[in-house]
Subunit: 306 residues, 2 copies
């Protein structure tokens, strides 16, 4: 799947992942109202609104981008109907040829991590059948529990040719509270990065590992160091756009081959119509605004990787 | 909800939480076969088997214990039907008067943590309605992202009088890989514990905070230090039984008032019938075996807290 991700990136010339992190107040009022009319002001109604919103955005941008990253929390908040829309979104995007990164940030002790790995990127054994439950292509994983919490994910990546991105340095303001603390003179995130390189070393695609890392766009100087520690790991870079990162800051995350990083934008794309810059599209033109925002992001990112 | 947890513990005289972490191969064959006959060898069939298994165990032990801890990964691996059973299990246990700790180990940047908090312990706003999605009483949370990843959970705990347990020192063999590393001469888990005490200080029930901690039974000497760093935090102690911890090792996790800790056993209770000790109950008597195992655990734990 890392090979397919790279192939998609080369084809679109856009190291972009669109974060499908819908908040109900991003959804234009005509879609919200229609969905509440159809299903009531219920979890079902909210989930229906999210689904219609996602689908229009996906239809408008899928040919420009290699991958999407639905953030499962935004669906989980709407309970079972929300998670059904998460699954529909995964399936719909895959049918469009997109690589789907499930942003689930799971991680637990060994047997529990194995259950998450099975449910999200593997196949669950039921009687004599092996059944995919959520079936994303990649997932994000939290490293706090160490190797035996990660290994079950790596094992499923190997057998299913799927992938994961492990949190190394996150994009939020207080990420440094633990991640930046020095251990033997080296920040924790570098220790985690060294482990990512180790965990990924025997789970290789053609040129890059199935095991990648999350490093926030808000820390370009750390990107340089981390790029060197994990030369074979793809870096998923959140924090572009709404969180403050811009293309000219992101050169450090890429390798000399122009590969090695994929930059996420969520609100900046899916709620583009709310920005002054794209206001002319209006609420009803929200999906076209998203397309324009993707094209602008593609142009901006050329400063980083070309 | 911390007050209700303590009230339940006092009433049952058992600082025990039963981990409802069902694996399909724990489920006795007669239930599996009946469920596969009813729903096929499908995710629905697996979920039905898990539900029937859970329900019999809950019916057999609910009067002996204060709380249960369903591990969501074990349900998530069966996709949407599995998560529907997770929700049914939460609701059924609450109707029986049990406190429900959703073992979800979520944690993300602020806005995403807010969505998880809303979905699991809060209420989701849809139009003019506020709707509970999963509605656990407590959840478990991962601290790797720092304060702004935790604060949204604490905010919901405060308004909804719910609670959380933050991972401090986990029970798995490689937990030390990052958690034990020294920062300014002090292990990372102690730094996290100090933050837990700080985060919990303004989210107080009568005697204990809504913000607790997870500390593995497998590290009793660390329990002593952590108990002192977080005097007002309840400690959720996994790793008893199948993972190696025993009652006489657990005194350090409790305060002098006999409170302050609640010890989890999962496989040791729910799959008790598979142990030699309870083999006489047979597969069909699996729920009675679970009851016997709870009574034995209660007796064993008296060494720790009485």
């Amino acid at each position: 799947m890392i090979n397919k991700l790279i192939e998609n990136i080369k084809k679109t010339e856009a190291p972009i992942v669109v974060g499908l992190d819908p908040m109900l107040d991003y959804v234009p009022s005509h879609i919200r109202e229609q969905s509440f009319n159809d299903c009531g002001e219920t979890l079902e109604g909210a989930a229906m609104a999210i689904w219609r919103y996602n689908k229009e955005i996906i239809d408008a941008v899928y040919d420009l981008i290699p991958a999407v990253k639905p953030q499962i929390a935004m669906y989980e908040q709407f309970g079972l109907p929300g998670l059904a829309v998460f699954k529909n979104t995964v399936d719909y995007c895959k049918a469009k040829g997109l690589v789907v990164i499930g942003d689930i940030k799971r991680g637990d002790i060994g047997s529990t991590s194995a259950a998450y790995a099975t449910g999200h990127i593997g196949k669950t054994k039921v009687g004599d059948n092996y059944i995919s439950a959520f079936d994303e292509d990649f997932i994000t994983v939290n490293p706090y529990l160490g190797t035996d919490g990660i290994k079950p994910f790596a094992d499923v990546c190997r057998t299913e040719h799927k992938g994961m991105f492990i949190l190394v340095k996150t994009s939020n303001p207080s990420s440094g509270e633990f991640q930046d603390r020095l251990i033997d003179g080296v920040p924790l995130y570098e220790h985690v990065a060294a482990k990512v390189a180790e965990w990924g070393s025997d789970v290789m695609g053609d040129d890059y590992s199935y095991v990648g890392a999350v490093v926030g766009a808000t820390y370009p100087e750390m990107g340089k160091v981390l790029r060197n520690i994990m030369p074979k790991s793809y870096i998923l870079v959140p924090g572009y756009g709404a969180q403050g990162g811009k293309g000219s800051d992101l050169g450090n995350f890429f390798n000399k081959d122009g590969l090695g990083a994929i930059v996420n934008s969520s609100r900046g794309i899916i709620a583009a119509y709310k920005q002054d810059k794209y206001a002319a599209y209006g609420e009803k033109g929200f999906a076209d605004a998203s397309r324009a925002a993707v094209l602008d992001m593609k142009e901006d990112l050329k400063q980083a990787w070309m």
